[in-house]
């Protein structure tokens, strides 16, 4: 069965902290995505990738870096976390976007 696994499921950090969110897919999909979900804004694309070593800029990239190390693994990095980055983060892989269960990040 197709799967996208995110870790951690919950994360609390302080302003200025360094955070890495991890995502692994077992779908053999080329494309992977990072979205953030906020009430009133829906799902907004941060970064995406079509393969190892590739990175495409999404619609809300400021403050985020991402790296695709393998076909399976896609990481989202917040190097100086801010309270505005408190959100629910979803990783996904194509086809037709298959989502992981999300990571709830709180920046205090």
């Amino acid at each position: 069965e197709a799967a996208v696994t995110q870790s951690p499921r919950n994360k609390v950090t302080v302003t200025g902290g360094n955070v890495t969110l991890s995502c692994r897919q077992t779908n053999s999909h080329n494309y992977m995505y990072w979205y953030r979900q906020d009430t009133g804004h829906g799902l907004r694309l941060i970064h995406y990738s079509y393969g190892a070593g590739n990175l495409q800029i999404g619609d809300v990239p400021d403050g985020y870096k991402a790296t695709r190390t393998t076909q399976e693994d896609f990481f989202l990095l917040l190097e100086l976390a801010s309270p505005s980055q408190t959100s629910l983060y979803f990783c996904a892989s194509s086809d037709d976007i298959f989502f992981g269960h999300g990571t709830k990040l709180s920046v205090l």
Partner: protein, 113 residues
């Protein structure tokens, strides 16, 4: 740029009555695929419907939607809402060959007894 508009943030409907969730779009893609996603409480969004054919009705789990390129719309409908339909619904588009998916802001459907 490309955008998807869902005008209602919350739709409340009584069980057994029909429901319609609105979705309109703007896009520069020549060939596009449209989606409705449903997200139940504390779960991930999942695909409910998909269509890329103009004026063709697509159905799944009692819901249906028809892509109308003439009016740039892809509204979601159901003839008889159920309590279990209460969820967050997203409309989204993707240009064929372009794997960037654009989502609307979402509509929360609340079905009451």
């Amino acid at each position: 740029g490309d955008s998807v508009t869902q005008t209602e943030g919350l739709v409340t409907v009584t069980e057994g009555l029909p429901v319609k969730l609105n979705c309109t779009y703007q896009t520069t893609y020549l060939t596009i695929a449209f989606f409705w996603y449903v997200q139940y409480l504390n779960e991930a969004p999942q695909v409910l419907l998909k269509s890329s054919t103009d004026n063709k009705r697509t159905e799944h789990q009692g819901f249906h939607a028809t892509l109308h390129k003439s009016s740039s719309s892809f509204h979601l409908q159901k003839s008889s809402a159920q309590l279990s339909d209460s969820a967050l619904y997203y409309c989204a588009l993707s240009g064929t060959g372009n794997y960037k998916y654009v989502f609307g802001a979402g509509t929360r459907l609340k079905v009451i007894a």
